[in-house]
Symmetry: C2
Subunit: 214 residues, 2 copies
């Protein structure tokens, strides 16, 4: 729930918890990515596509964050990687405390790269550091061309954006370049990669941007 | 922001504010609808389609709720109805207090039906009563077939759901009937209407469900 502004104290507490997560990940040599994004934008599919391509070479793990349900968790399990289902119930985001608990359910010594899939929305996750190496935001052209303008905070602070479902752009009459321009205006040094995760387009570029090539 | 659970006191305060909004709307004889839903699901377009069909007979007004930006507000103005832009900045939902302020910016004596478009996500808006006649949730097939399972609270408490972008269902390989079944399981007495707002399909059914036929 969301009645109280994050005060300095609360932010500091979140930063401390994030530092604990960061230390734990470092202890096990795990590179972790916080995958944020709109609901249904293709976060899970993006992770699946990356894992499918690299799982012979990299040992992956995943934390599936959702308000309720286990759909994404089951997809990770079917993918053959260790995963934890993390239901937030009423919260619209993960936080470092939840992640720290979730780590206890994973075989950390067997994981090299951990995807933490956040709860699907573009507002709340922006405020909570998770102690990861990098944050990613996934959006889709089907959400319209105004997504960046409507959520400047998360885009201004995230230097890797994936714009997915490119195959549907023409059909929904959305110009991906308008979204790219909005993002570049907010975050001139950020990287935005156009993908069609369903058909595999753009996945190698995301893999390169995450430094997962070997 | 979202650190503190809504306690009984906060909920009671929200209910009191919602009652004030309800009283004000009643004073002016305004029927108000709280349009919630995922980002990019088609909330604004649904309102546009309804207004286009009925504006010769009904005097509409709108409140455009978004974290940032004025895209939706400008669409309502282009539609020729009085509107207020309501940016929540860090909040992921509207609340009755914000709505009460927004009402001050509208010519209430000229409005018969007011659409309040909430911030786009399926988590936070569920917790805040706005004092309206009815809540509506808009989702889209492009978000995947697991939307209802992932957000049981908002669907359990909302008795009118619009499942939009039906024209894209086959392309994104989503079976709308699976979403309908999930919703009916959670909310057996609720109504779910399948629409393709872009091409006008299902709009008369939504108009009927809202009791806007004359």
């Amino acid at each position: 729930m969301h009645e109280i502004e994050l005060t300095g104290d609360v932010l500091a507490a979140q930063e401390r918890l994030a530092a604990e997560v960061r230390a734990k990940l470092a202890q096990y040599g795990i590179r972790a990515f916080n995958v944020m994004g709109a609901i249904g934008s293709g976060k899970t599919l993006l992770i699946e596509r990356i894992v499918e391509r690299l799982k012979d070479r990299i040992r992956f793990g995943a934390i599936a964050g959702d308000v309720a349900g286990s759909d994404d968790y089951e997809r990770f399990i079917r993918l053959g990687i260790p995963a934890v289902n993390l239901n937030t119930e009423t919260e619209c985001h993960l936080d470092a405390h939840l992640v720290e608990h979730a780590l206890e359910g994973l075989p950390l010594e067997e994981i090299e790269v951990l995807f933490i899939e956040n709860v699907g929305n573009l507002v709340c996750p922006a405020d909570f550091p998770l102690g990861v190496e990098r944050n990613i935001v996934v959006i889709s052209v089907t959400e319209g061309d105004d997504m960046v303008r409507k959520h400047p905070k998360i885009f201004a602070q995230t230097d890797l954006v994936v714009l997915n479902k490119l195959d549907l752009a023409e059909l929904v009459e959305v110009d991906p370049q308008r979204i790219v321009a909005d993002y570049k205006r907010l975050n001139p040094h950020g990287t935005i990669i156009l993908t069609d995760a369903k058909h595999g387009r753009g996945i190698p570029e995301v893999i390169a941007a995450l430094g997962l090539e070997r």
